[in-house]
C-alpha cells in the first residue's frame, strides 16, 4: 500500500477530506495551522468546494462548524490549545446540544511552550464537557481516528475532541490512506429545537441526556482499537500511557515490555481495562504528555488505595513535554550521553525579521516614550511580542489574544498614563474589536497601536480578516476619525511617526494609530512568485 509522508496535522486534514468533510473552520495557531493549510491546498477540497477559509477567531470558527453540523454535514474545527479558551463557550454548549453531522474538534496542545504562552492540557476540557476524546500515538492513528471519528460522532450524537501535541502535529511519518467517502447530504435535525435551543428547561433535559450518554462513551473506549493492553511478566509495576507517551515507553523497551502496559488513546478512560491493570499490579506508573489528568483520576484527591506514580509525586517532571529520556529516567534506565554542549554555545532567541515594519514601529514608539517615564505598553500575541526582547524591550505585558487593549483600558481606569496598546491587525479582529468598543463607550484615555502587516504573520502568513478595512472598522466602532492615524513605518518617516504618536498620547481619549507596511516575509514570497 502506498504510504504518504504526512505531518500529524496533514494526516488529520487528509483523513477529514477522505471521510467526506464539507467544511473546516479554524483560526491559525501553532501547532495546528497546517491542518487547515493542507485542506486549502488540496485539489480534492477545491473540486468539492469544501469550506476552508480562515475564521476571525476560534469562537466564530467553532460556532460555524456547529452550524454546518446542524445542517447535517461533516465539520472539522481546529485550533491551538489556548484557542479552545476562546471557543470554550461554544465548546461546552455543543456538548449539551450534541451534533447532527459528524463534528471533530482538534486541539493542538503545546507542552514545553515551543510557541505558546502556557502549556494547558485540553484533555481537561474534554473531561469538563464530558465528550469522547481521541489522543493518537502516531500519524496513522491520527488519520484513522479522524476518518472513523466522524462516523462515531454521528453514531454517538456528540462532537469528538481530538487532542494532539506539538510532537504529533509537527512530525512526519508514512500514512496509508483509505477509500474516499462521499459528503453527507444536507439534512437538518428532526428534533432540532429540543436539542439546539438551550433554554433552561430544555438544557436540564439535555444535561441528563449527556450524563446518560457517558456509559455509551465508555463502552466505545472499552472496544476502541486505539486502547490496548499488553501483558508483562513483572507485575510489581503496571504502566499506563496516553497518546505519544506510548512511543517513549516503547523506545525504552526495544525487546518488548517487562511490565503490563495499558495504552490509552481514547477517552473516557476504559474503565475495565484500568481496573484490570490496577488489580494485577502492585504499583502504577502513569506516563502522559501534559497535565497529570489520568494520574489524578486514578489517585483521587487523598491518594488512597493503590500507589500511583507520575507527575504528581516527582517520578516525572511536573511540567514540560515528555521525551524518551524523561520516560527512561522514570523507569530507572541508564542514560548515556557522551558529549556535553560546550560552554561557548549561546542562546539564539527568535527575533523580528530585518526589514520588518514592527521594528520601525517600536523604534519610533520607544523614542517617544522616553519622554513619558510612567508609560506602560500593553502587548499582545504575534510576531510583535518579540518586541519584548532586546534591542527593543518595548512591552510590559503579553497575556492573551486581545488583552493589550482591555488591559490598557483597566490600567488607564486605574490612572496609568500613557496607557499604550500594541496589537497586530489579525489579533485586533480576533479579539481586540470588542475591547475597543469598551474604550469608546467610556472615552478611555488610551493610545492603541494596530501594527498592520496585512497578514497573520507569526503562523506563516495566513489571510487576516480585516485587511484593508481597519480604519472603517475602528470608525464604525465609534473612534473619532480624527484620531485614527495611519502611517508607513519606515526610517525616513520617523519624525512624522513620532509627532503623531506624541499628539495622540497627548489627546485625552481613544486614539488608534495604524502603522501599515506589508510583512517582509509575505512580500518576499509574492515577489518570488511573480518572477516565475
Amino acid at each position: 500500500m502506498e504510504k504518504h509522508l504526512f505531518l500529524g496535522d496533514e494526516a488529520v486534514a487528509q483523513a477529514a477530506i477522505d471521510a467526506g468533510l464539507s467544511g473546516v473552520y479554524a483560526y491559525p495557531g501553532t501547532p495546528s495551522t497546517e491542518i487547515t493549510e493542507f485542506i486549502q491546498g488540496s485539489a480534492a477540497a477545491k473540486e468539492r468546494g469544501i469550506h476552508c477559509r480562515w475564521s476571525t477567531n476560534e469562537k466564530t470558527a467553532m460556532e460555524a462548524a456547529l452550524g454546518m453540523s446542524y445542517a447535517g454535514k461533516r465539520a472539522l474545527c481546529c485550533m491551538k490549545h489556548v484557542g479552545l479558551n476562546v471557543a470554550a463557550d461554544c465548546f461546552m454548549n455543543a456538548a449539551m446540544s450534541g451534533i447532527n453531522g459528524g463534528m471533530i474538534i482538534v486541539t493542538a496542545d503545546d507542552p514545553s511552550m515551543h510557541s505558546s504562552q502556557n502549556e494547558q492540557d485540553n484533555r481537561m476540557y474534554g473531561n469538563f464537557a464530558m465528550i469522547p476524546m481521541f489522543e493518537p500515538s502516531n500519524q496513522q492513528e491520527a488519520y484513522d481516528m479522524v476518518y472513523d471519528g466522524f462516523e462515531l460522532s454521528e453514531k454517538l450524537g456528540y462532537p469528538i475532541l481530538l487532542r494532539i501535541t506539538t510532537r504529533m502535529a509537527h512530525s512526519r511519518a508514512g500514512v496509508v490512506r483509505r477509500e474516499p467517502r462521499k459528503e453527507n447530504e444536507m439534512h437538518t435535525p428532526e428534533d432540532g429545537r429540543q436539542r439546539f435551543i438551550l433554554l433552561p428547561a430544555l438544557a436540564r433535559k439535555r444535561f441528563k441526556t449527556l450524563i446518560a450518554a457517558q456509559d455509551a462513551f465508555t463502552a466505545s473506549s472499552e472496544a476502541s482499537p486505539y486502547n490496548a493492553y499488553f501483558d508483562g511478566s513483572d507485575k510489581e509495576l503496571g504502566i499506563i500511557t496516553t497518546g505519544i507517551a506510548f512511543n517513549y515507553l516503547s523506545e525504552n523497551y526495544p525487546d518488548g515490555f517487562e511490565h503490563p502496559v495499558l495504552k490509552i488513546s481514547q477517552y473516557p478512560l476504559p474503565r475495565k481495562m484500568v481496573e484490570k491493570i490496577v488489580g494485577e499490579c502492585k504499583e502504577i506508573l502513569v506516563l502522559e504528555e501534559g497535565y497529570p489528568v489520568v494520574e489524578e483520576q486514578l489517585k483521587g484527591f487523598l491518594g488512597l488505595g493503590i500507589r500511583v506514580h507520575g507527575r504528581l509525586d516527582g517520578t516525572l517532571q511536573r511540567d514540560g513535554e515528555l521525551t524518551p529520556d524523561a520516560v527512561g529516567k522514570a523507569l530507572g534506565k541508564p542514560i548515556a550521553s557522551y558529549y556535553a554542549t560546550p560552554e561557548v554555545v549561546e542562546q539564539r532567541p527568535p527575533a523580528l525579521c530585518q526589514g520588518c515594519g514592527h521594528r520601525d514601529m517600536y523604534e519610533a514608539l520607544n523614542e517617544v516614550l522616553v519622554e513619558y517615564k510612567d508609560a506602560k505598553v500593553f502587548g499582545d500575541i504575534g510576531c510583535y511580542t518579540l518586541g519584548a526582547l532586546p534591542p527593543f524591550r518595548a512591552i510590559d505585558t503579553c497575556i492573551d489574544m486581545g488583552a493589550s487593549i482591555t488591559m490598557a483600558k483597566g490600567a488607564a481606569d486605574a490612572g496609568v498614563y500613557p496607557a499604550v496598546s500594541v496589537i497586530g491587525d489579525s489579533t485586533f479582529t480576533h479579539s481586540g474589536m470588542t475591547g475597543l468598543l469598551d474604550c469608546v463607550n467610556e472615552n478611555t484615555n488610551i493610545t492603541i497601536v494596530i501594527s498592520d502587516n496585512e497578514t497573520t504573520a507569526m503562523t506563516g502568513g495566513q489571510d487576516s480578516a480585516g485587511t484593508g478595512r481597519l480604519e472603517s472598522i475602528c470608525a464604525g466602532i465609534g473612534v473619532d476619525p480624527a484620531h485614527i492615524r495611519v502611517m508607513v513605518p519606515l526610517k525616513k518617516n520617523y519624525d512624522e511617526m513620532k509627532a503623531i504618536i506624541r499628539e495622540e498620547i497627548e489627546y485625552k481619549g481613544v486614539s488608534v494609530l495604524i502603522p501599515r507596511r506589508e510583512c517582509i516575509q509575505t512580500l518576499t514570497r509574492k515577489k518570488k512568485a511573480s518572477k516565475k
Binding site: A173, G174, P324, T341, V344, R348, M458
Partner: protein, 194 residues
C-alpha cells in the same frame, strides 16, 4: 538499517529542505521514517532543529534519545555544538564552518572551531563557498546534504533521485544545479573522512 539524524541550523537556512529530500528517498526505499520539525515562533531567526529517524523496522519515538544520534548535520557551527549530548560515542558530526551571527553575544569564532576540532568524527566545510562555485549560494543546504550523504545509510543515487523528485517541478536547470551541489558536498566529505 537504522539511522538517527539531528538536523540543526538557524531559522530560514533550509534544514527542512534537507529533511524533505532524505524523507523522499527513504519512503521510496520502503523505510520507516519519523521526522519531528520545529515550526512557529522559533523559525524567526532562532535556533531550529529537526529529529529525523530512519529504519527498516518500525520506529517508536519521534524524538531521538540522548546519546543515540548517529549523525548531526548542521548548517551552522555553533548550532552543531548545541546538540552534542544527543550524539553517539562514535557518531559523526557534519557541519557548515561558516557562522551565522545574528546575536550580539555570539562566541569568538576560534572558540567554536576549537570545540569542533576536538571531536573524533567530523566533517567541517564551508557550504556557501562550495555552493557558489557550483552555481548558487541558495543550494548551500544541498551541498550540506551531499556532505552528509555517506553517513545516512541510503545510497547516494537514491538521494540524487530524491532531489530529482523534490525539485522536479521547478525545472531541469534547478535540478541540475542541486545535483551538482550534492555531488560537490559529497566529494568534499569523502576527502575529509580519510
Amino acid at each position: 538499517m537504522k539511522t538517527d539524524i539531528i538536523l540543526s541550523g538557524v531559522g530560514g537556512q533550509g534544514i527542512l529542505s534537507i529533511a524533505a529530500v532524505i524523507g523522499e528517498a527513504a519512503l521510496k526505499e520502503g523505510l520507516y521514517m519519523k521526522q519531528a520539525e520545529v515550526h512557529g515562533m522559533s523559525q524567526r531567526g532562532g535556533d531550529v532543529q529537526s529529529n529525523l529517524r530512519l529504519s527498516d523496522q518500525p520506529i517508536a519515538s519521534d524524538l531521538i534519545p540522548l546519546g543515540q544520534a548517529d549523525l548531526i548535520v548542521s548548517l551552522e557551527p555553533m548550532e552543531a555544538l548545541r546538540y552534542l549530548p544527543y550524539l553517539k560515542k562514535d557518531g559523526w558530526l557534519v557541519t557548515n564552518s561558516r557562522p551565522f551571527i545574528n546575536i550580539p553575544n555570539y562566541p569568538e569564532v576560534e572558540k567554536v572551531d576549537e570545540e569542533l576540532e576536538i571531536l573524533p568524527h567530523k566533517v567541517v566545510l564551508d557550504v556557501e563557498t562550495i555552493a557558489k562555485e557550483v552555481g548558487s549560494v541558495r543550494a548551500a543546504n544541498i551541498v550540506m546534504l551531499g556532505a552528509a550523504a555517506p553517513f545516512i545509510g541510503i545510497e547516494y543515487d537514491k538521494i540524487a533521485d530524491g532531489i530529482r523528485r523534490i525539485f522536479g517541478r521547478k525545472g531541469e536547470e534547478i535540478v541540475e544545479m542541486n545535483l551538482k551541489a550534492l555531488q560537490a558536498g559529497y566529494e568534499v566529505a569523502q576527502g575529509m573522512q580519510k
